[in-house]
């Protein structure tokens, strides 16, 4: 009977401690509020350029990173704020980067599309669709050759799966049995192009068979589903059995980028997904199972709001890079 119960116990509750679960919720809120803050700063003209918001995909990013160890590595995408926070980045330095400051993760040189946090194992977002996929395989090669035990998680979108780099990378990772987990965050569109119009297979995970690796499609907005699928893939990689492809179904609430007019999808579709907010879903899951009280849950969110406000202040008050340093860090200073 007790046995029975643990049988039916949701995966996440078995796999993670209450502290870990609480932190997962915190990170989801942190991503959401970070991006809302960034959007607001952009609208008010304090941030230039463009940005790709992952609002609506927070559970996919956080859930995917949960089974990773501290020093495992990830490669991210143009829609990478969530991955960055999920891997443990400091939102102050993220905002500082958006503001183009010397205190930013890239010292103001990279911006949203190149945000990275190498110390925490985030090898970086990428401005090139699928550009990070072979890089992840290379990082996994290093792990195997130098026996570091690290697993590499490679994030990319549904649109990226039609790039040649996807094909070449999955093939090599499989032939060489490298410790990499490919996570395709399928939010139904590559910019304006739906997967039906761009991709000749129903589930992207079905392409895994062409590389003799496991491929699963899961609801990326369901914390239990995504963490269980990823946990299995990470274990497989850790044990030296090679790569896996996990397709995480999710949805971006915002436009592709700042220039999007949402002409390719309906308001109803967007509203329908918004009504199934993955953060609210995870939060009530935790409350239902007694991991958090309603009050705890609200406190988590409130603390995040404060953290974001402070982070924006830090960014604003940080120093700009000096124009005379424009060509610094192109090459490595060799101190002989």
């Amino acid at each position: 009977m007790a046995n029975q119960m643990t049988e039916n116990e949701p995966f996440a509750l078995k796999r993670f401690s209450p502290e870990q679960l609480r932190d997962a919720l915190r990170k989801m809120h942190l991503i959401r509020k970070f991006e809302e803050g960034a959007e607001d700063c952009y609208t008010r003209g304090m941030i230039h350029g463009t940005m790709h918001l992952s609002i609506g995909q927070e559970c996919s990013a956080v859930g995917s990173c949960m089974p990773l160890a501290e020093d495992d590595q990830i490669t991210s995408t143009h829609r990478g704020h969530g991955h960055c926070v999920a891997k443990g980045a400091d939102v102050s330095r993220m905002f500082a980067e958006f503001f183009g400051k010397e205190t930013g993760y890239c010292k103001g040189r990279g911006g949203s599309m190149h945000i990275a946090d190498v110390a925490k194992g985030n090898l970086g977002a990428n401005g090139i669709v699928a550009g990070g996929i072979p890089i992840a395989v290379g990082a996994a090669l290093t792990s195997k050759r130098l026996n570091t035990g690290k697993v590499v998680m490679c994030f990319f979108g549904d649109g990226a799966n039609n790039e040649g780099a996807f094909h070449e990378s999955l093939n090599m990772a499989s032939v060489w049995k490298l410790p990499v987990v490919f996570v395709c965050e399928n939010n139904k569109y590559g910019m304006s192009t739906s997967i039906e119009r761009s991709t000749s297979v129903k589930n992207i995970a079905d392409r895994a068979a062409g590389y003799s690796m496991p491929g699963v499609t899961v609801d990326g907005n369901d914390f239990n589903a995504i963490t269980e699928a990823i946990d299995t893939a990470v274990q497989r990689a850790r044990e030296g059995n090679g790569p896996s492809l996990v397709e995480s179904l999710t949805y971006r609430w915002r436009g592709h980028s700042k220039s999007d007019r949402n002409r390719y999808r309906t308001k109803d579709e967007i509203n329908d997904w918004m009504s199934k907010d993955p953060i609210a879903r995870f939060s009530s899951f935790l409350v239902e199972h007694g991991i958090l009280s309603e009050a705890d849950a609200e406190k988590v969110e409130a603390d995040v709001v404060a953290e974001i406000a402070a982070a924006i202040e830090f960014a604003k008050s940080s120093p700009d890079p000096s124009v005379s340093d424009v060509s610094r860090d192109v090459y490595t200073e060799v101190t002989a």
């Binding site: 230039h48 350029g49 463009t50 980067e97 183009g100 890239c106 103001g108 040189r109 990279g110 911006g111 599309m113 190149h114 990428n126 401005g127 090139i128 669709v129 699928a130 550009g131 649109g159 990226a160 039609n162 790039e163 040649g164 590559g190 910019m191 304006s192 192009t193 119009r197 761009s198 991709t199 220039s259 999007d260 007019r261 002409r263 390719y264 700009d320 890079p321 124009v323 340093d325 424009v326 060509s327 192109v330």
Partner: protein, 339 residues
């Protein structure tokens, strides 16, 4: 010629650079069923820079094709289509992504005619939104036109006005060989008077945008506009600058450049691409090996992109490419014999 006579009879209207490109594509789609547009999100989205706009609604998805995110394959499909009877206009969403398609552009499109002994032609037009100034950082701000201008078999143009981009795009479609069009993103919203209807502006001819006697400024793309602004400033300092808009960087209008240098005896090349091996290197070397060398009274100056990837921070970004002030101060120093 023909085109010019014809053009003079047309009414002119004001449009933006991107509207002029769309107008040219609209005319081409309307008059030639072989013309197809291919690219990422050029359909309902209207293109990343809204150049194709609503053309998909007028001509349908069969003529205005959204491609998957597959630059190499997409470019190759365009090459194969051009080789067999279509007239594709292929849009790269950013010219930086053409790095994925160099194989098809350089090994196939540029060479197949020659490799097959002249048996075939590849009437392919490709469009490359290029350049910095949008805060999009290192992978979305490059100016790689010099790469393609290095490749025999290609023609490479950088139109600088709405009038020229429409006429040169239509000329590119008449051209039996592959024509690569580099469009600076900051030009898209610039306006100018454009003839309505069909006309062409010949590929391979530079345009003298401003006559002058003290120095020749050969500029490309957006640097033509910055050079013209600089020339205004210089005039106040009593320096008369001639500004040449190269327009085509392969083949280069050698005569136009040499004639001007013979007249002014000073040359400054201004371009946004990285200075080292950018288009200005070729202009400078072309003059230095010509008879015009004997007319030179001063070193040949180049103002190009600095030796770093384009940074995100807006001040650093500006500092990475020539600005009007840089042109003014450097040209003045050259003319005053300080270089």
């Amino acid at each position: 010629m023909n085109a010019l006579i014809q053009e003079s009879t047309l009414d002119v209207v004001e449009m933006s650079y991107s509207e002029a490109i769309k107008d040219a594509m609209d005319i081409a789609l309307g008059q030639d069923e072989r013309v197809v547009l291919m690219g990422e999100d050029i359909g309902v989205y209207g293109g990343a820079f809204q150049v194709t706009g609503d053309l998909v609604h007028k001509y349908g998805e069969e003529r205005v094709m959204d491609t998957p995110i597959s630059e190499l394959g997409g470019a190759g499909v365009a090459v194969g289509a051009a080789l067999t009877g279509l007239r594709p206009i292929f849009e790269f969403q950013f010219s930086d992504f053409a790095t994925l398609a160099m194989e098809q552009i350089v090994n196939q499109a540029a060479k197949v005619r020659y490799m097959l002994g002249g048996e075939v032609s590849v009437p392919l037009v490709m469009r490359f939104p290029a350049g910095s100034g949008t805060g999009a950082a290192a992978q979305h701000s490059q100016s790689l036109e010099a790469w393609l201008a290095h490749v025999p078999g290609l023609k490479v143009i950088q139109p600088t006005t709405p009038h020229d981009v429409k006429g040169m795009l239509l000329a590119a479609l008449e051209d039996p060989d592959p024509v690569m069009i580099f469009e600076h993103k900051l030009l898209y919203k610039t306006k100018g008077m454009v003839p309505e209807g069909y006309y062409t502006v010949p590929i391979g001819q530079a345009a003298i945008r401003r006559e002058g006697t003290d120095v020749t400024i050969v500029a490309t793309s957006i640097m033509v506009h910055k050079s013209l602004a600089a020339a205004e400033e210089l005039e106040k300092e009593g320096i008369s600058a001639e500004v040449i808009d190269l327009r085509t960087i392969r083949p280069i209008d050698r005569d136009a450049v040499l004639k001007s240098v013979e007249k002014t005896s000073r040359l400054v090349c201004v371009y946004e691409g990285v200075k080292t091996l950018g288009i200005g290197a070729e202009i400078s070397a072309m003059v230095a090996e010509s008879h015009a060398f004997d007319f030179l009274d001063a070193p040949i100056l180049r103002l190009g992109g600095s030796d770093n990837p384009i940074p995100y921070n807006p001040e650093l970004e500006k500092a990475s490419v020539p600005q009007v002030d840089d042109i003014v101060s450097n040209v003045a120093r050259l003319v005053k014999g300080k270089i």
